[in-house]
Amino acid sequence: MASLFPLLSALHPVLAVPTIDRLVFAVCAVIVLSGALGVVLSSNPVYAALSLVLTLFGVAVLFVEEDAQFLAAVQVVVYAGAIVVLFLFVIMLLGVDRQESMRSERLPAQRPLALLLGLAALGELLALSRLTHWSTAPRGASGAPATGGGGNTAALARSIFTTYLLPFELTSLLLIIAVLAAVVLARRPGQHPIEPPSLVETEDPNMPMIGSDPDEEIEGVRNVDAESVAFGGGRGPQ
């Protein structure tokens, strides 16, 4: 009994936790890690994207476990609802949903070196989280508690809309820039913008025309339009 005592005292912080917390953490850890391994190891990009959904859901449940309910909801909506769908859209659009051969490798030493590097990084991170004492400040030293007054969402809103108001506004600028960049990048090169046809096709006789015969001019413009629609299909001159 005396020999069991140090073991029990060592296990005491874990045993004092309610069973449901330990169970939730264990299940979520398994889900997160298996999803991450699925992303890395599956040769089909579609399977990798679906494994990514698994990992993101596991992380969202861990956020709930850590009293960050708003971030858990945002995680599910933004990541699993938008980003993974975007990934799947691009996979289907590019038609790259076939198997990537995991055998051939141009740099033969790359894979063992990568594994070695990853293990070294993992060892360093675990040693840092073990050996050093991260929580040097007393709890709640910043004066902005995580669960004060109205719950997690109210506390987060107070922090974002008072302390971080300028960065919050700058993120809107960042999102607009990203949308513009995506539109510009997704255009095919040399594609002309769509011309408004209403100015050309009006039958108004008072409209000034350059040619002597207005009907012929209009017909020519119509032919050009039809040709560009028929042959272009969004593909401009190279």
């Binding site: 990514l52 993101l56 009293d67 960050a68 590097l117 990853g118």
Partner: protein, 101 residues
């Protein structure tokens, strides 16, 4: 009493390492992007864990901004990938040799 934050930190470290190794060993550009997302999620988990350990909401606000930047990064990155690989048959990082002299 809730679970100690060290468990969450260890899980985040393992998740980050898996993402880093995946980024190094995969050659499909889309899968490499997904591995970057894994690493970002590991960092977010670390932020939320410290926010819980220190009872400080600022860690969660930082996660909020990380989410926004990650969304913008994915949009721009996928736009670049689409514009590069529109005329190429497969999307591996080894095919990007246009800068080779």
């Amino acid at each position: 009493m809730t679970l100690s934050g060290n468990w969450f930190l260890a899980l985040a470290a393992v998740l980050f390492s898996i993402g880093a190794v995946g980024l190094l060993i995969r050659r499909n550009v889309l899968v490499m992007f997904m591995c970057v997302e894994l690493m970002l999620n590991a960092v977010n988990l670390t932020f939320v864990t410290f926010s819980k350990m220190l009872d400080d909401i600022n860690g969660q606000s930082l996660v909020f901004f990380v989410l926004v930047v990650a969304a913008a990064e994915v949009v721009v990155g996928l736009g670049i990938i689409v514009s590069i690989f529109r005329r190429r048959p497969n999307a591996t990082a080894d095919d990007l040799n246009m800068l080779k002299g």
